[in-house]
Amino acid sequence: MTQFNAASTVRAAQKDRLNDPLLNARMWRKRNFLNHLAKRVVQGGGAMIIASVLGLMLLFAVVIWPLWQKTSVGSTEKVQPPALDGKNILAVSADEYEQAMHLLTADGMITFYNFAVDTQFTTVSLPLEEGEELTSAWRSTDAETFAVGTSFGRILQYSISFNSRFLAGRRDYAPDAEISDPVQLIPAAEKIIEIAGAFDSDGGLVIAALTGKKQIVLYRKAGMEDDFFDEEETAPQTGKIENLSEKPVKIAIGEGGSGLFVGFENGSIEKYEIDDLDNPVRSEKIQVSTAAITLLSFMLGDRSLVIGNQAGEISVWFESFNHDGTGPRQLRRAHTMTAHAQAISSFSVSQRNRSFVAGSADGVLSFQHATNERLLWMDTISDHKLKLLTMTPKNTAIIFVDAENAIYKIAIDSPHPEASLKAFFSKIWYEGYAKPEYVWQSSSGSDDFEPKLSLIPLIFGTIKGTFYALVFALPIAVLAAIYVSQFMHWSVKSVVKPAMEIMAALPSVVVGFIGGLWLAPRMQPVVPGVIAVIIFVPTVAILFSLLWRKLMKLRNHNLISGSETFILIPVVLITAYLYISGSGVIESRLFGGDYELWLKSSLQISYDQRNAFVVGLVMGFAVIPIIFTIAEDALSNVPRRLSAASLALGATPWQTARHIVLPSASPGIFSAAMFGLGRAVGETMIVLMATGNTPVMDWNIFNGFRTLSANIAVEIPEAPMGGTLFRTLFFAALLLFGMTFIVNTGAELVRQSVQKKYGKHE
């Protein structure tokens, strides 16, 4: 009626104005303009939908893409201080702003060079004797502490600081070196060939020096912390490893200064326990390859040992148990990295993550990430052998020194080396693990933590949660839909259907709260009873139905179809009450009085309070109404002529429902199940609150899990923008989006085809 009135008003208004031709023309123009404007605006609105879908995709693409970005490399520039021409360079490092460099030359000069301002440099000389030369240098992972060995059998140690300030638009340096007194480690006539060091947990420094006589001399200076507590300075200790069978060529100390690794010319390595310097014990001997060891160095964290050899092979080793988690901890080859064609001649580890650069005799440099064995970049950068390499503290440049002692800098950009398809989806052997595994552990308190970014446990958790939710919800929702659509009087249905639909409106945070804080703790003591309820309520209901029929026959009384559901309410409640209160009896009869103990001893599974069982039950609140509503629609839309014909031919209502209505509606029910699945996959708050959120991979119904969605909600607030974790979480969101997109599109296509087949009825 209102439409008609509105139309007539328009008409009346027009009639009045029709008399004035001028007004008429102006009015027409105005109307035309409005009409066109409206069209544009509405089309703009349409474009918004497309734009938002595309924008969603685009944003994800933009955020995720850098994870797979190739390492970009700048041009090579020479950064040589003129004064150092021709001098033998032993060590190099750079400050975090990549403007200043520290160089150590064999004549005992430390040079600080600001290569942004070509003229600025400072030199400090080490206290060497006349004719004494440096032979070997070791630098700590943070490139702040250096230990050097001399040709007179002495060692000394120094620490550097760049002391930079930002002044008037440029960075100024006041570099400084703190130099210890030299220590005569071996007779002055002998030469130190190789030197290695490590800090122990107290901040003390352990140094090992390789001499020309197949012997290694050890030296330990106590840490500052020790000095602080006891007034007296602990005297430095020394020790010796003699009579090595093969010719040692490389040494490295790791594991907090307690393990010395020696690499030999025949390609083997040996490990010595050097906690007690007086009595170093050889604990392992491994033949790595037949080629001579040319590189022995620890990665960030001092646990992973990188071994390189004359043949150009690089591998990463760490101590772990056997694959089954037993046996002694042994050094095992965890990662085989991309090999060079010639001998590995130089090496530097990242101070931020598990990546490293290695250079070889043919001037080739490789930039690799150990955890996921990803080759980030590899190219020939020099005509000469690469003698020294250093990665700047922020991993944004590499400085290398070639055999001619020329110094170059290359800018590199590889913001997310730890990400790769392999890292996300393959088993990876993480430091300290017994075997390659799928692990999600994105962060920890310590700086040298190895991020574990496998998405598989999260995908598994998502599937597990969805599976248990559907196991419970699907039968209930579909059977209820059959009942409500086929056997329920419309007057009852008009109450029951909205009641079920209200369930869909429950905020998931409420459902999660009830699941996590109400149901989970109350269920724990009565799990056997709850399981009994699930098994026996249907049984009791069936028995009751048989009894009811007998009873009805006697009294010759009939009910409105649809009241069964209300008659069953007390039956269900009483049965549930009896079984749950009798849980203790069941427990003592079947499970020896304590089902948790029984689960552990006979099935080897533990019981978490917040587990998949709880989630499965409460997720029903989210999933049942969706499946129910769509399935009920599908069942109600089956043309009545079909069921009428079936009933007329003498089929019982159930036979009609089972063999006529159900098959016709099955695509619709399938689509309902798919929509339910889509909802369960994406549900966040319920799983966040009702599970323990531990990313374990275990089908056990009494354990928790962590889903993609909950993981995003938990970790995104802590993920710094633009970081690897941030982008990985976006990737996880895209996966989630993809999963639900496929499921929902499938369901929608099925639903539309069903609608076309039967048309709408009401």
Binding site: T2, Q3, A6, T9, R11, R31, N35, A38, V42, Q43, G44, G45, I49, S52, I476, A477, L479, A480, Y483, F487, V496, P498, A499, M500, A504, A505, L506, P507, S508, V510, G512, F513, I514, I542, S545, N558, L559, T565, V572, L573, G584, S588, G593, D633, R640, S643, P653, W654, A657, F675, V681, G682, T684, S709, I712, A713, F741, E748, Q752, K760
Partner: protein, 547 residues
């Protein structure tokens, strides 16, 4: 199916059992929803009812005063038999450190309900259960013994409350005003400093600002002084209480919100108290890490967020629906669009949250900061989560609901009406504006209600786009520009998650969680019922309940 409404009395037993099984599923579904609602309603509503305080005298001589929370059976490690135990809320967090205690029925010697037991609701440390000892003003004892104290207490409490009201007035209005102005002046000074080179005019301006600053500081110290005096006066009144276990505690009246003797109260008094507590819950700020007090900021945040979302979602949704239904050529493209819209409805809410974070917060918010708030960088203004971004994220999340509902409304307008309008000379826009939209407006309204209901209950996307456990200030206040869309806000749904799962003392916080849950459920279910009623009333077929 009318032909099935006939009573079922066929002889054929085939399938009867199955029908009962399907009926059972319906029963379970109904029990689930009624059970959950019942659980929340009973727990939520009973929270505010004053329970009686019982005095438990244990066999080992210890005494506890508290209210019985629940009763269950447990199995002690030493035996295989189940025994009864009571969970008693003993409060007095400052003495016992735990709010609850399990008392085994075995070890209870006697239970009594002492009339003199008094319950205090305090500003900090939660409730106190005990017995009144004496009342002092400035350390001078004014009343000794329960009867005398209880006679004097209301009068003194009223005096203290009046002082507290003055303190609040100074704190909330005067000092806040001063600090706001101080901030503004300091901001101006900062800007002036950045301007180079310094000019004479700038110098003059700076002097003026500095003198303003000094004035403000003088005002501030004056207010502070008055505050100090008032606090002294209010703090002079103190009540000494003895806990059941014998410890005495002196509690300043200024720290007491309410005191009463539940065991002495009659029904009328209890009802009055119930209503007062309910009102406090609805109208007060939270206290004690959100575990006590009210949820007003959360209600405010929820409502405001939903309101901003509605402003965004209605035009967008209706435009899209008009496009799909009235303007677009019905073909493969529109079919694809419809699938896309339905799909957007099925996208997990956390994905929207991530999108909101990436797009609204970092891209748009970051750009706004660069353009307009460069002064305060690197501290983000819009480039961090806030109520505007959360609202827009939820608008995206709910726009499919509005599109689908509005489209159905548009489709339901008979083509004869359209044709009639066009035949009478109306343009397409006029037909749309004056004929179609008015008759489709109830559907649009239904769509909006459904969108609001969904938005009010969503939490996951908010967690990443700007909700916080405790917002320092509301998004609306008396200072220019009055509506602060960049501010973080509180939300009822997040309040439930935060208090229930992140608070230091989950057990003591549970009453608060139940009450908040009840409030949220009432809002959401009422909105949904309104939508159901509306669409029923309009006799419109509705097929989007899966959204």
């Amino acid at each position: 199916m009318e032909n099935m409404n006939k009573p079922i009395k066929q002889k054929q037993s085939s399938g009867q059992v199955w029908i009962w099984l399907t009926a059972l599923s319906t029963t379970i579904g109904l029990l689930m929803i009624t059970g959950l609602l019942g659980l929340i309603f009973i727990n939520g509503f009973s929270i505010f009812w004053p329970a009686k305080l019982q005095l438990f005298e244990m066999k080992d001589g210890s005494r506890f005063l508290g209210e019985v929370w629940e009763e269950n059976e447990f199995k002690p490690e030493t035996s295989t038999e189940y025994e009864k135990r009571l969970r008693v809320r003993i409060a007095n967090r400052d003495i016992y450190s735990l709010d609850f205690k399990w008392l085994e029925e075995e070890s209870i010697a006697a239970v009594s309900v002492p009339d003199s037991a008094i319950l205090l609701e305090r500003i900090s440390w939660g409730q106190f259960y005990g017995f009144a000892q004496n009342l002092t003003v400035n350390n001078v004892t004014k009343a000794v013994g329960e009867a005398a104290v209880m006679r004097l207490l209301p009068e003194y409490q009223a005096k203290v409350d009046a002082l507290l009201a003055q303190i609040r007035q100074i704190e909330k209005v005067e000092i806040e005003d001063i600090s706001y102005k101080t901030n503004a002046v300091q901001q101006q000074l900062k800007q002036l400093e950045r301007k180079k080179p310094p000019t004479m005019a700038g110098e003059k301006e700076r002097n003026e600002l500095n003198s303003q600053l000094q004035e403000l500081q003088a005002l501030f110290s004056k207010s502070e002084k008055r505050l100090g005096e008032l606090r002294m006066r209010a703090g002079a009144y103190a009540l000494t209480l003895r806990a059941a276990s014998g410890e005495d505690r002196i509690i300043p009246l200024a720290k007491i919100i309410r005191s009463f003797q539940p065991n002495k109260m009659n029904w009328a008094q209890k009802t009055a108290l119930y209503l007062a507590r309910l009102w406090e819950f609805l109208s007060d700020d939270p206290r004690e890490a959100n575990m006590e007090g009210g949820v007003l900021p959360a209600i405010f945040g929820t409502v405001m967020m939903v309101f901003i979302m509605s402003l965004a979602v209605v035009p967008l949704g209706v435009l899209a629906a008009i496009y799909l239904q009235e303007y677009a050529k019905q073909g493969l493209f529109v079919k694809f669009l419809r699938i896309a819209v339905n799909n957007l409805a099925g996208v997990p809410s956390i994905v929207y949250g991530i999108f909101g974070l990436g797009f609204f917060v970092y891209v748009i918010g970051g750009s706004i900061d660069q353009l307009f708030f460069a002064d305060s960088l690197p501290n983000p203004t819009f480039g961090t989560g806030g109520i505007l971004w959360a609202s827009l994220t939820l608008a995206l999340l709910t726009v499919p609901v509005v599109i689908v509902t509005a489209e159905e409304g548009l489709a339901a307008v008979p083509s004869s009406v359209r044709e009639g309008s066009v035949a009478l000379g109306a343009t397409k826009f006029e037909t749309l504006w004056r004929v179609i939209l008015p008759s489709a407006s109830p559907s649009i309204f239904t769509g909006l209600i459904l969108a609001i209901a969904r938005a009010a209950g969503e939490v996951a996307p908010l967690m990443v786009t700007g909700v916080v456990k405790l917002a320092p200030s509301l998004p609306i206040d008396g200072y220019f520009p009055y509506i602060h869309l960049e501010r973080k806000f509180m939300h009822l749904g997040f309040h439930i998650y935060d208090v229930g799962f992140q608070s230091p003392n989950v057990e003591a916080a549970l009453p608060m969680v139940y009450a908040t849950t009840l409030l949220l459920i009432v809002i959401v279910v009422a909105l949904n019922l309104a939508a159901v009623f509306l669409r029923k009333h309009l006799q419109r077929r509705f097929a989007v309940t899966h959204l």
